[in-house]
Amino acid sequence: MSTKPTNPQDIPEVNLENESGTRAMEEALQSSFTILKIVIAVLVIYLLVFSNLVNVKQDAEGVIVLRFGKAQATSPEEVYKAGTRFAWPYPIDEKVEIIRNRPINSNVAWHAAIGLAERGDDIGQRPVDASRDGYAVTMDDKIIHIKAEMTYNVSDPSKFAFAFEEATAVLQLILDNGVTFAASRSDLATILENPTQFAENVKSRVVKLARDYDLGVEIERVNVGGDDVKLPFMTKKAYDKFSGVRTSVDEVLSSAKIAADGVRRAIESGGVGSGASSGDVATIRNKAKNEAEALRASVKSLASRFQDIVTKYPDPVARRRYTEQLYYEAMERIAENEDIKIYLVSKGGKLNRSKLRLMINQPPPEVSKEKEGGGK
């Protein structure tokens, strides 16, 4: 049985060599705690101050801050003010972010995506499947696929954010309504040939509905491009043929009108027209005039010559001698002409007809263009 030491002098000596290690550990732990406290403090400051900071981009975004659920600033100027905004963390403050403008697409009247299997088939035979494909019906009872894109601008952010659970869904639906409505009041040809005008009609309807529903938005633009309007696949070939015919019709009628105009111009002006019978009327008149003039000139010349001879030679004998002179002068001229060859052949009797042997070495005379046209 051991006895407890009662005398303080009997207390065994403590080994003080390990106390410095403990002290060092204590100091290390203390500094760790200090660092930890600093980190926690930084985190708290971050959570309190920086975590709810929001950066608002110029002309693109807006923010409404709810303090204990109540909206602070709702005017457009304050909501869309660009820069960094501070808000306390939830549940003190809550941020409602608003995208100021974005595109909305309507595919309510568009066909379903073409599957891989269908791409291999003849797409021209693909019918419209009412369970999958959207379409619109036009004023002239035709089926057409249309898609549209709309851009809007939030003019009243408070209404936009707090009057509608999903304002963008409402915008989508009014755009769908606009496409259906505008298609029912346009004919197919107008939509295909002037999609821009069709887009304006859609926009008118959408603007009206946005105003009626008090959405707090301004509709900026509705776009329906050339590729956004399409005939059902199985009708495209027939329509292309019909459209092509219209071009052919224009060409046929145009050609006929040109030919008719050419015939009329040729008649009226007598100038060069189309076809071989150009200038017929004027040609006939001119030919007659030329013949008449030639006849008059010829007869006048003859009469003048006659009168000269009669006047100059009143005596018939002298006149007769003058005619002989004229005769011989003419024969002389003919005989002197190197281009003329004369063969004088005896006629012979009925029973003894002359035989003619010719060696023609002259080329046939050229037929001049004047002789062809005027017959002069």
């Binding site: 619109a136 006929a256 007659a288």
Partner: protein, 313 residues
């Protein structure tokens, strides 16, 4: 120092748990009710921080007071003439009387009650849309502004939408909600009619193409024929004019010939000489016998007649 930190931390925790248990927020877009031991309070619509007793003494129900939007199914709707048309509508609704809404809807929380309200509203709108379409539309053609339906039977979109909204209004009010708008999303035809329409489009365009080109060719022929007829008429007229021109020239020539009657032989001689000179200009071969005139002159003058002096000479 440690004591102060501990007090602060304890205070913060008390604040956090206390605010969670004793306060609630009514958001800008919410309506709230406080249920006090089974009894509902008046609706709280003003946004902000409110105080309450913790559960189970008081319980808070919150509802979204914004306009919700819902679409009906794309379904067949019967028209007056027994036909059918495919239609899909959308409608916007919101809570108008929260107390009635609380009473008339079922659910253990606000989300379930909202879904229940939507389900009931969908039935109401479906029924009224069928009734109203049947009233105003005789066929599908009533929905397009073309010639397929008479003018008096054409459906005005706005009028139909308003009629459905007005018809559903009373029943919706019984539910404590207000239908703010109704709209037509899309209109179509049943699949069987759709195939007929598409085939009709193909047939129409094919036939039109053939007829159009035929008519155009006919018209073209008419245009050309008319021009040819006009040309023939003009030519005949020109021929008549030419004849009269020639006749006038011949009359003038005749006058001249009368003057030459004083010596016909001289006149004949001069004419024959003129003809001879015109005929033989270049590249000419003359093969003559002695009986050919006017080339008979080549034989020489007619001696027996020319040597005899006549009374005229």
């Amino acid at each position: 120092m440690k004591k102060i930190v501990n007090i602060v931390i304890f205070g913060l925790l008390l604040l956090i748990f206390g605010s969670y248990m004793f306060t609630f927020q009514v958001r800008q877009d919410e309506i709230a009710f406080v249920n006090h031991l089974g009894k509902n309070s008046d609706p709280i619509e003003e946004p902000g921080l409110r105080f309450k007793w913790p559960w189970p003494i008081q319980n808070v129900y919150k509802f979204d007071k914004r306009i919700h939007v819902k679409t009906t199914r794309y379904d067949q709707v019967m028209t007056r003439n027994g036909g059918s048309v495919m239609m899909q509508f959308y409608f916007g609704w919101k809570i108008s009387d929260p107390s009635i809404f609380m009473e008339r809807t079922n659910g253990s929380n606000s989300e379930e009650r909202t879904k229940d309200a939507e389900k009931q509203l969908l039935e109401i709108v479906d029924t009224e849309k069928n009734n109203q379409v049947n009233n105003v539309a005789s066929s599908f053609g009533s929905f397009v502004q073309g010639a397929s339906a008479k003018a008096a039977e054409k459906v005005n979109f706005d009028d139909l939408e308003k009629a459905i909204q007005d018809a559903a209004k009373g029943k919706a009010e019984n539910l404590g909600v207000e239908i703010r708008f109704v709209g037509i999303r899309k209109v179509g035809v049943p699949q069987s009619n759709l195939d007929v329409v598409l085939n009709a489009m193909v047939t129409q365009w094919t036939n039109k193409a053939g007829t159009t080109i035929h008519l155009a060719e006919q018209e073209a022929r008419t245009i050309v024929n008319k021009a040819q007829n006009d040309k023939e008429t003009a030519k005949q007229k020109a021929e008549a004019e030419a004849e009269s021109i020639r006749a006038a020239a011949q009359a003038d020539a005749l006058q001249q010939f009368k003057l030459m009657e004083q010596d016909p032989k001289l006149a004949v001689f001069l004419m024959e000489l003129q003809a001879l000179e015109k005929s033989v200009k270049k590249q000419t071969t003359l093969i003559l016998d002695d009986s050919m005139g006017p080339f008979g002159l080549l034989r020489g003058l007619d001696k027996p007649q020319s040597q005899k002096p006549t009374k005229e000479e």
